[in-house]
Symmetry: C2
Subunit: 327 residues, 2 copies
């Protein structure tokens, strides 16, 4: 893109008006300016998605790709107990992408951003030779003292997850043509869980209200995220495999790969965490009132950092890795 | 990179301690957390550099590339009159880059970041098939009311630049082997101006002290930046070509391309702006005391947005474009 093209393009993707009252300068100067609220902490994260690694142009529409690039970052803010407010987008664009497709990409980003009244406040558009690379930075806020960290799990805590686990990994296999599902509704549900993950912002805020909670979002896979909580908190976990909540669509597949998807699949963007057991029921009720399912899947024990999976009376160590994109 | 590799890599690039007292959580959780100062505005910007477009691996060391990726974003914060505080880095890495080179890349980033006591607070490391893509997000702050915007130029204002202009473009031509310079010192100076631009943070802060200033940094070329100031402020500018300050090294080249480098070259990362004429001398003196040269290169007039270049008694319209990386 030439400079003139870039100015023209920015005009196409610019919001017609700001959504956040604290935004002073959005796109258009050297940098964006906003006023932070007092008594709040600023939350910042950035994630990159690469064509051929995180998405395939043949398998997802530009709009879906844009939606997901923003959603995965909102999920990180949700996992801190915060709400998202602003985002910046940089894209390195090869010649294989048309301006129309890029406009669709940004439309997908705006679709999810507008749900949370987020403003697009900056970024960059450059050319590259081969594959599209998209980086999204999201800025959010959380009231001081209400942040939810990974290091706050304690022995005795209940381990929980929101929603259902493993759907996204199965959806990816359908997209890649490796899995065919008889029921069209099930297939559409699972693919949608992969393409359009819903960041658990509301759940994260409910968890902000509890006295102590450790929290993580499920991006790299349940096994990896549980291990991260254990490492950060210096505790051990015992997870009961049969308690991990599955969607009817996933369960109906009767696939041999089910365990792999559930434990290592990732990209469900549900929340996983721990809470003192006495507080679990009240938290579950609060979530339920908001239409969010919260399931207890195990407990925390004292001991060196590790995750044990309990199944048919046997415990096995759950290693961190297993997730490797399209490999 | 596998997940295990990524964790291992993050340990290598993690700072041993935080530099900013307001940082609550740096790298290690879902997102970073920091406390914003009251009476300040948050400044945010993000820029992407792509191998083969913004840098050539054969021509610059990983350390230089890292340094510059952070420097160009600090420059944007400086152009708002602010100071940089935090940065996030995402890289999409092809197999042609070794882990040692990536560690050097981050060392170059830390080299300039440590100068400003900036903390690396987040990011992402993913794989890609072809060329390295690096995105840096920088967060800074400026006292409320002291922000320097492009839209504040008024008829009668003096137009100024810091430092010297055109060095970086000439340095690039030397790097590409298109220009050979007899004097080794001149060659080294110009190449260094391209590889290691110095963001004008101190100058930006001095300009924050003046009553009214419009400000921009020179990334895309003097002509482009001047046009941006005119467009944002709805004014006309007359620039006297002979007043544009040149380094002795650049002047000694006697090249036919000198005008192109000065007007369209870009990447000098000096500041360009306007100030009421009565305030220019005092601002120049303040800058001089800090070892920063400030040169008046023209003035602002009422009229529709355009930039006129005055040379040998003739005025010609200075168009925005001319800069096109390595093309």
């Amino acid at each position: 893109m030439t400079i003139e093209d870039e100015f023209h393009f920015i005009d196409k993707i610019r919001q017609s008006k700001n959504r956040q009252p604290e935004l002073i300068e959005g796109i258009g100067d050297d940098a964006a300016l906003y006023r932070a609220k007092s008594d709040y902490l600023e939350i910042v994260c950035a994630d990159t998605m690469t064509e051929g690694v995180h998405f395939l142009k043949d398998a997802s529409s530009p709009k879906d790709i844009g939606y997901k690039a923003v959603a995965v970052n909102i999920s990180d803010v949700a996992a801190m107990g915060g709400v998202p407010k602003y985002y910046l987008v940089t894209i390195a664009v090869p010649k294989t992408w048309s301006e129309e497709e890029l406009v669709e990409l940004y439309a997908g980003m705006d679709e999810i951003a507008s749900t949370y009244k987020m403003d697009l406040i900056g970024g960059d558009t450059v050319s590259t030779s081969d594959k599209l690379v998209i980086t999204v930075t999201v800025i959010g806020e959380v009231q001081q003292g209400k942040q939810r960290l990974r290091k706050d799990a304690r022995p005795g805590d209940a381990v929980f997850v929101t929603g259902t686990i493993g759907d996204s990994a199965a959806g990816l296999q359908i997209l890649l043509g490796n899995l065919s599902v008889h029921e069209e509704n099930d297939s559409a549900f699972l693919v949608n869980r992969h393409k359009r993950p819903v960041p658990q912002v509301k759940a994260g805020q409910l968890m902000s209200s509890a006295e102590r909670i450790s929290l993580n979002d499920i991006s790299d896979g349940l096994a990896s995220e549980l291990n991260e909580l254990c490492e950060a908190s210096c505790v051990k976990m015992v997870i009961e495999k049969d308690r991990v909540p599955l969607s009817d669509s996933l369960r109906s597949l009767h696939s041999e790969q089910l365990d792999e998807w559930i434990l290592y699949g990732g990209e469900d963007f549900e929340l996983v965490g721990t809470v003192p057991p006495a507080a679990f029921d009240s938290l579950q009720k609060k979530c339920s009132e908001e239409g969010i399912s919260l399931t207890r899947i195990g407990h925390v024990e004292a001991g060196s950092s590790e995750v044990l999976l309990l199944h048919n009376g046997k415990k096995t160590k759950l290693e961190k890795s297993g997730y490797n994109h399209f490999k």
